[in-house]
Amino acid sequence: MPFFEGNKMTAGYGDGPDIITSCSINVDRGEIVAILGPNGAGKSTAMKAMLGLLNLKSGSVSIDGDDISSLTPQDRVKKGISFVPQTRNVFAELTVKENLEIGAFLRKDNINKVIEEIYELFPILKEKRSQVVGQLSGGQRQQVALGRALMIRPSVLMLDEPTAGVSPIVMDELFQHILKVKETNVAIIMVEQNAKQALSISDRGYVLVTGENKFEGSGNELLKDPEVRRSFLGA
């Protein structure tokens, strides 16, 4: 049984139509899973459903065998699921260190050790620790966002388009960081527009179309699949 799993999820916003129907996504620890698909395919919605930001009409979400379908997002955070939104994913008016501290808001133990670990992972943050995040560059902000999410030592990390709006160089750097996070035995799900690059670092990928699973497989399989290539990779 996979570590973190959304099983046959159907959900939509409010009373609106279903955005995802019977969509299933799972991830294991130490694995990167990419969710791909055209615009409006329900990629972000699937992720938000797993996080509890919108209610499921049917289906379930479970972590480590526990059904967490009825928990609020905050309670899921306590279960070790961390989320980095696409926009507004840092506290721009707080310093880097304060951002990290807020990330560990739910932890009762001494967090200085965790902060040191984050600094090791993202050395630039140590250097800039007392700067206000609003003054940092785009790539540095994304690192703060990742660092904040990692402060609870999550078992699952969900990233909503982490490379949106950053330059190709920064994107490569960011993917390297995500790989480093993976090595700490975290399960990573990410929604990505840059499908090729995302698949190149992912262990597996899902392709969603109109809210349903269309293809799935290992990164290499998807990259080689002619239909996937034609439809989504633009080659």
């Binding site: 997002p73 955070v77 939104p85 506290f91 501290e101 807020i102 739910l106």
Partner: protein, 336 residues
């Protein structure tokens, strides 16, 4: 010697009163800014909430006096502060539960909350007037002066006297303590940081596990402390009258916006900016210039930039200028 006289003159009539008035405004402005930054609306009941807390201090002062309890040379009202704050917070939380929370949960636009606060303003005014009436109340007791003009003249041999009222010292002193504690709390404690985080980015704060109910609760508690103490200090220094407190909302808003609404440091300094501007621009400098200028240049008019009638108008004009040129306030940088 003349120079010294001139300095004392300015100290006595402008600097010390402005520091006092500025402190009172600053407390109110931080109150406005906290509510705006965290609860996200312009609170038009600001003046009346300050009045509400002060009302309890006045009533309790009278009660303590009737019991024969006093605070020695200090005003009895200082003893009542904890009780008044308690009542104030209780009132604020009740209002929040029955009025504001509904709109917060619904995520209504800030304008709607502002209109709701107008309703709260009406109700609060009514309650205050029904309980204590609209008339002027004085509740200052204890030693009125720390330094009297005549004593100062004897001591120094100068022409100009320096009067320091105890309320002035108490106001400045208490404000500094309260504001320091508050800034320490906001910046150095986990809860304070979480409040600033909530103010900055509500969604992310929720995702980080910050409990919005707790943030709202603590905001009202701090707001209650600031409103009550600000109100009591103003009432001790001048006098307590509900209508005046309602009107004080206007320079307080001006101070909060001048400092950049949502930014407590800005609000703190904004209070002094407004106070100094009001007092410096309406002071008649005739005697000051008589001291520092040679006899031949002595002025024959008042040398008053604006009549004191325009006291309020000055702070509002500053606000308009700030809004025109720097809508984010004159102090940029870190917000709450």
């Amino acid at each position: 010697m003349d120079l010294l006289n001139a300095i004392i003159l300015l100290l006595n009539y402008t600097v010390i009163p402005a520091l006092t008035y500025g402190s009172q405004l600053a407390l109110g402005a931080i109150f406005v800014t906290l509510v705006y930054g965290i609860l996200r609306f312009a609170n038009f009941a600001t003046g009346d909430m300050m009045s509400f807390g002060t009302m309890f201090a006045v009533l309790l002062t009278y009660y303590f006096q009737s019991l024969g309890i006093s605070f020695g040379v200090l005003p009895t009202a200082l003893l009542t502060i904890p009780f008044a704050i308690f009542m104030m917070i209780l009132y604020m939380l009740t209002i929040d539960k029955f009025v504001f929370s509904y709109y917060r949960v619904k995520k209504s636009p800030p304008v709607q909350l502002a209109m709701v606060s107008v309703g709260v303003m009406f109700v609060t005014q009514a309650i205050i007037r029904i309980i204590i009436g609209p008339s002027d109340k004085r509740f200052l007791d204890g030693e009125k002066f720390i330094l009297k003009a005549t004593e100062f003249k004897e001591m120094t041999g100068l022409n100009e006297g320096l009067t320091i009222k105890s309320t002035q010292v108490i106001t400045i002193f208490v404000t500094l303590i309260v504001v320091s504690i508050m800034f320490w709390f906001l910046n150095k404690t986990k809860t304070g940081t979480s409040m600033r985080a909530y103010s900055d980015n509500e969604d992310l704060a929720l995702l980080s596990g910050i409990d919005p109910k707790k943030v709202v609760l603590i905001t009202w508690v701090i707001a209650g402390v600031l409103a009550t103490i600000g109100g009591i200090l103003y009432g001790l220094d001048k006098s307590y009258r509900p209508f005046v407190y309602f009107n004080n909302m206007l320079p307080i808003f001006a101070a909060a916006i001048v400092g950049g609404i949502g930014n407590p440091y800005g609000a703190f300094f904004g209070g002094y900016v407004i106070a100094f501007a009001e007092i410096f621009l309406t002071y008649a400098y005739k005697r000051f210039f008589i001291y520092i200028l040679p006899d031949s240049l002595e002025p024959n008019s008042m040398i008053q930039l604006l009549s004191t009638d325009y006291k309020f108008a000055i702070s509002f004009s500053i606000l308009v200028i700030v809004l025109l040129f720097r809508p984010s306030g004159i102090f940029e940088g870190k917000k709450i």
